[in-house]
């Protein structure tokens, strides 16, 4: 009832979040290591959009600047938004599905699987590109999906998918794969730096091709996950209760698992393991707007996007020309922010 009353407010708030995201992305596009002035970057961006071309004259700007903006910065900004949204929405889904506040997108070992795949590619020297996708990314994707499949098979009991079994299997498989990664690193010390850098997460080599792949996956995936928000609400009261409400709990779990794994596999294989977002953004939304999944899910996506765009902007502009791996920035800056939120809402949480 409260939700229905507030529905209009939430709608407006969501719209504001999207607009904020849009402006943040534009701002992020004007910041970077190259020497391009604010007005120049704006002109380049406006002149690149077909309908707005007549409003800006970008002819006098160096072609390298235009190249940087369109081929280096903007794909990166878009990718951050998409991955931030994907990680957060899956985090929210898993927290609902497992009824566990500590759940994050990587709880089922998917990050270890992706790392193992990527490490295998790096170590075997298959660094080539196949139709625009790096081999490392492909291997990481395969590793992530295989891991999910394995965890699913281990945890499955007949037709049911016990959540505790899933978590335990995920933890065990995750540990096993991390050890594999460590062994590979140990025997290939010369590649260690590269493997660690991949694991820490980086958006530095973002391409429009990656954006094109991630855009439908994240957007459609998020839309579908939103459809299941009601079911997740019911499941949060317990699976038996949910069943009695008419929800096909096992089917929903399997479907959500499959869809979430797909989204995460795409995100991690593109940009490495970016931690903290999937865990914290949903909680931040809950602290601010309550636990109704119909609110948490969409807003997690929106704020996840904002958060990662922010972190990536910091990552590449704090100590130019060096770049801090974005996974480091998310934890370093996200954690204190979250502690602040907790502090402000102590009464609510306790």
């Amino acid at each position: 009832m409260t939700f229905l009353q507030k529905k209009k407010q939430y709608g407006i708030l969501f719209l504001i979040a999207l607009i904020a995201l849009f402006f943040l992305m534009i701002l992020s596009g004007t910041l970077g290591a190259a020497d391009i002035s604010f007005s120049e970057s704006l002109r380049i961006m406006v002149s690149g959009v077909p309908w707005l071309r007549r409003f800006a004259d970008a002819g006098s700007i160096r072609s390298s600047s235009r190249m940087i903006l369109w081929n280096v910065r903007l794909p990166r900004v878009f990718l951050s938004a998409l991955i931030g949204a994907g990680l957060s929405i899956v985090g929210a889904t898993f927290q609902g599905m497992f009824r566990n506040p500590m759940a994050d997108p990587y709880i089922l070992g998917i990050s270890s699987g992706a790392s193992a795949g990527a490490t295998a590619a790096i170590v075997l020297g298959w660094g080539g590109m196949v139709s625009g996708m790096g081999m490392t990314a492909l291997f990481a994707f395969a590793g992530a999906l295989l891991t999910t499949l394995l965890v699913y098979r281990i945890a499955r009991v007949g037709n049911r998918l016990p959540t505790l079994g899933l978590i335990l299997a995920g933890v065990a498989v995750g540990f096993f794969l991390s050890s594999l990664v460590n062994i590979m690193m140990f025997f290939h010390r010369d590649q260690m730096e590269r493997i660690v850098m991949w694991t820490m997460g980086s958006l530095a080599t973002a391409t429009w091709g990656q954006v094109r792949i991630l855009f439908p996956v994240v957007l459609l995936g998020s839309a579908v996950l939103f459809v299941f928000a009601r079911d997740l609400n019911a499941m949060s009261t317990g699976e038996e209760t949910a069943k009695s409400l008419g929800i096909e709990v096992e089917k929903v779990k399997k479907f959500l698992l499959a869809l979430s794994s797909l989204i995460i596999a795409c995100c991690v294989s593109t940009a490495g393991v970016i931690g903290f977002i999937g865990l914290i953004v949903p909680h931040s939304i809950r602290l601010a707007l309550g636990s109704d999944q119909r609110v948490v899910i969409p807003f997690s996506a929106a704020f996840g996007a904002i958060f990662l765009v922010l972190c990536d902007t910091l990552a590449r502009n704090l100590i130019p020309p060096s770049e801090i791996p974005v996974g480091v920035v998310t934890s370093l800056f996200g954690a204190p922010f979250f502690v602040y939120l907790l502090h402000r809402n102590k009464k609510k949480v306790m």
Binding site: A34, G127, G134, R194, M197, A204, T207, P320, P321, S322
Partner: protein, 345 residues
């Protein structure tokens, strides 16, 4: 949902597990030798000068081409780089970005530093590199910065990622990746190719000849002398003990300098403290940086070595041994001078 049989279930689980185990076995088998292969792709390797534009060699190779008489590079110039790509430079490059300390050193040695507009954080020799703008680190350089510099050619070396190459090419830049095997020949080749690229063939030949002379001189002086056992300290302490095995270039350099590599019973870089104590080498080589010599004197196990007790530790700038560039010959000579001082009087 169709109920699968229990056997079907186990079969699939087992096959997935087997897939993982096979992967694990395959990787471990491949690491048995543990040899340290530079370069992160399958195409790496020595690209000998098969193109017409081979650099001049004092030894008078079979390919004496008309170009050797006039040492200038003819543009447009096509080179096959270490990623097996054919790259063409339309004209002599005036702005070069280096993504490798070795390349930076070579460019300076060739006297072409005025063309250098970008270098990595790790390029610190010679000192003048500090005046050139940095573009970040070797593995993930700042792509924006490089594009902004509008270089005519970007020269990279080992540890260069394909993804970065893709982005630079998307931005319309010309990229050449050059690295050879880790050896003097590999260094000569790298120097020669960069000399070709930057129209500095004469300088390149000069450097290569000097290096060859130094190397030959060192080998002559230490010939027939008794070989002290030498241990090259790469790492020690809690992270493990690492040295240069017999298949590494440094290991070979030790032999060339008239020493016996104490770690010539292993390939690769891993060693064990126990074995080292057993070998009790005559000489240790460590890095001048990070006060390694002081740390060795108090390190567990190392402090009991004769070499440490007698102070027979050669502190040197490791870049002279590890960067495939002009200073390799100097590094070799430094080792030889330390272990056979009487031969260099």
């Amino acid at each position: 949902m169709k109920r699968t049989t229990k056997a079907n279930n186990s079969f699939i689980t087992i096959s997935i597990l087997t897939a993982f185990l096979l992967m694990l076995t395959g990787l471990l088998a491949g690491c048995g030798q543990g040899s340290d292969k530079k370069g992160n792709n399958g195409a790496g390797g020595v690209k000998t000068a098969e193109t017409k534009n081979s650099h001049g060699s004092a030894e008078g190779d079979a390919d004496t081409q008309p170009e050797d008489k006039d040492e200038s590079t003819v543009y447009p110039f096509t080179i096959t780089d270490s990623f097996d790509r054919k790259v063409t430079l339309e004209k002599e490059p005036q702005k070069v970005v280096s993504i490798s300390p070795a390349v930076t050193e070579i460019v300076f040695a060739l006297g072409q530093q005025d063309k250098l507009v970008g270098r990595t954080d790790y390029c610190n020799y010679p000192e003048e590199t500090a005046q050139i703008e940095s573009i970040g680190n070797l593995m993930s350089p700042n792509i924006e910065k490089i594009v902004d510099m509008e270089p005519d050619v970007v020269i990279a070396s080992a540890h260069f990622q394909r993804e970065v190459l893709q982005k630079l090419e998307d931005a319309g830049l010309t990229v050449v990746i050059l690295y050879g095997e880790e050896s003097f020949e590999g260094a000569y080749e790298a120097i020669g190719k960069i000399g070709d690229l930057l129209n500095a063939r004469a300088a390149a030949s000069g450097i290569i000849d000097d290096m060859k002379t130094t190397v030959a001189d060192v080998e002559k002086r230490v010939k027939g002398k008794e070989k002290p056992s030498v241990y090259y300290v790469v790492g020690f302490g809690e992270l493990g003990d690492f040295t240069a095995g017999k298949d590494t270039f440094v290991g070979q350099m030790i032999e060339m300098a008239g020493g016996k590599n104490a770690a010539d019973d292993v390939k690769g870089w891993n060693y064990s403290l126990e074995k080292l104590l057993e070998k009790n080498p005559d000489v240790l080589i460590c890095s001048k940086a990070d006060h390694q010599k002081e740390q060795l004197k108090t390190a567990n196990g190392y402090q009991d070595l004769d070499a440490v007790k007698n102070g027979k530790i050669l502190e040197m700038d490791k870049n002279k041994l590890e960067i495939q560039g002009p200073r390799l010959a100097n590094g070799l000579k430094e080792i030889a001078k330390y272990i056979h001082p009487e031969a260099f009087k």
